[in-house]
Amino acid sequence: MSIHDRESEAILCYILAAKPSPTLLKRYILAIKTIDDKKPVGLYAFTLSWPSFLRLFDPPFPARSPRQTRFQKRLNAALTLCETSIEGVHRLRQQPGETRAGILLRLFGALLVDGLTMPLRLVVWKFW
């Protein structure tokens, strides 16, 4: 696997909170090659092994560097491709049987984590 493909897998994993299927990964790589340059973002090796840590590098505000711009663009592409795939649509759209309480609870959890990590994300955003 090339570094570009490993980064793609990590980004999809970060969005999906699960390992992406080979079909979705292939589609994502093809999409990135079509809409963007083929350069790797330059993510740290530990984030490729533990994609949850990509949250720290996810820019909270408009990107400040070409690397952040590229990363942001790829995150947005991953989000769109997840929504239009059978394995990722549940991340953005309600599924039959989901309860309002469950949706709100997960939202509360996600916002809490975002709030707690915000100071670190701001530092990374400024210097990465």
């Binding site: 589609r27 942001q72 947005n76 795939s85 059978i86 991340r91 953005l92 759209r93 996600a110």
Partner: protein, 538 residues
Amino acid sequence: MAHDVTIIGSGPAGVSAAWPLVRAGLKVLMLDQGRKADVPRSLQGTFRTILQNREDQQWREFLGDDFAGVGDERHTTPKMKVPQFRYVQRGFEDVYSLSANGLRPTGSLAAGGLSNMWGAGAFCYNDDDLSAFPVNVGDLMPSYRAVAERIGISGVLEDDIAPFLGDVPLQDPLPLCENAQRLLERYNQRRHVVNKLEFVMGRTRNAVITKDQPDRQACALDNMCLWGCSRGAIYSAAQELESLSQLPNFTFQRGAFVQRIVPQADHSYHIECKDVDDDASTGFIVKSERICLAAGTIGSTILAMDALNILDAPMPILSHPAMAFAFVLPGRIGRPEADKAFALGQLAYRLGEPLTPEHHAFGILFSAEGLLASELATYMPLSRPAAAKTIKALLPAMILANCYVPGIYSNSSIKISRKSVDRRAVLQGGVSHLFEARFNDIKKTLARAMWKMGAYMIPGGAKLAELGSDGHYAGSIPMTKEDRPLTSTPEGEIRGLPNIHTVDGAALTQLSGKHPTFTIMANADRISHRMARRLREI
């Protein structure tokens, strides 16, 4: 010359000009590149069922095989990215050698023009909107009614906004989405409070049929309006080209992109055409004595300026400074999404300026459920997983609004510059210095009015749209009573080009806050009725 009148362009203006001429028994030739759709809808069903497609093919429908829908482009209407609509604008700038600065040029080489992807809002101009025009509501009303009967408009005649939108024949209204229904109920309960803010609201009018017609099926509420209506419920001028083509005195010539109009000594015109999709095409000439110019505001203006030899002089062109807002109804957060809905305009509102009524702002409220949630999530200052969870909860509670202010707030121009033998068109976009203050004022008043109705503006949920991205260009060959360069008579006849009548947006004297397409169609109908009457008398 085999034809009495040649119409250049097959969009709503061209088609509206064609009907009165054809019905009067005149021979009409319509010239246009007339491209057909090249990406058909691949999946059938409602927006939600397609999004949950078990074959995992939904990405083709929403993003296209070339993934162009994945792009990160912002501040344009979502329709610009839709795979099924990309053919509509493809190559427009190239064929006119058009460059733009500060605004997005919009135009089309497709049969039916931009109406293949319009928002279907159909509103009459009233006396305030027409204050600068050499015609009044009485002159236009018979044409408004005729066009409304022809295209089918759904809406109501009895609510607060109705008098502002005009009295035309309407079909039954489309059902409102849950959020719009709640807003309207609260508006009716608190009308006395919000009206003090010069805010008036009611059901919008859409050129969408709610009754089956021979060639079109009524809206089935599949929420796919933004992605291409497979039933033909949303009006498009392309639908009427088929009906017109069945008449013996109408000819639609595809592959005839008009490059130039050259006046001849015998008072006729040589129309130089070419099939721009055929590399082997060497071009051909159509001779005509009488022309209706309906190539779209930008196209018609370029053709007229070239024929009049107006070179290297910037001429004014109007566009709609526009903005978009996102609101949320807290009680609906986390509620289930609707299975069936209509995805275009739900409610219309007007924000007035009591002392200068022609300065009003006008907008439409939409449901967000027919959009890709990922598009909205990218605007949130959250990590992507948190943004995804947030938008999932917010989407059923969201209501989106657009807002337009009149063209007097735009400050744009169009110029043809001569470089050796080539001619290039240059669009320069800008807004009036008053616009920023007006935007802030609208943002504040709209947020307040919606708050009174129980909806809250999402932080950061007010954006300026890219100028021109809505396609509302007008007023470049305005109808005026006085003789000025690059203007037309009240009958649309371009001064300096006898027997060439401009019938599209270029002829509008002013651009009100309302969407102009319906008025463009009515004006084309009016001009061509007069032309037909005069030609029958000759």
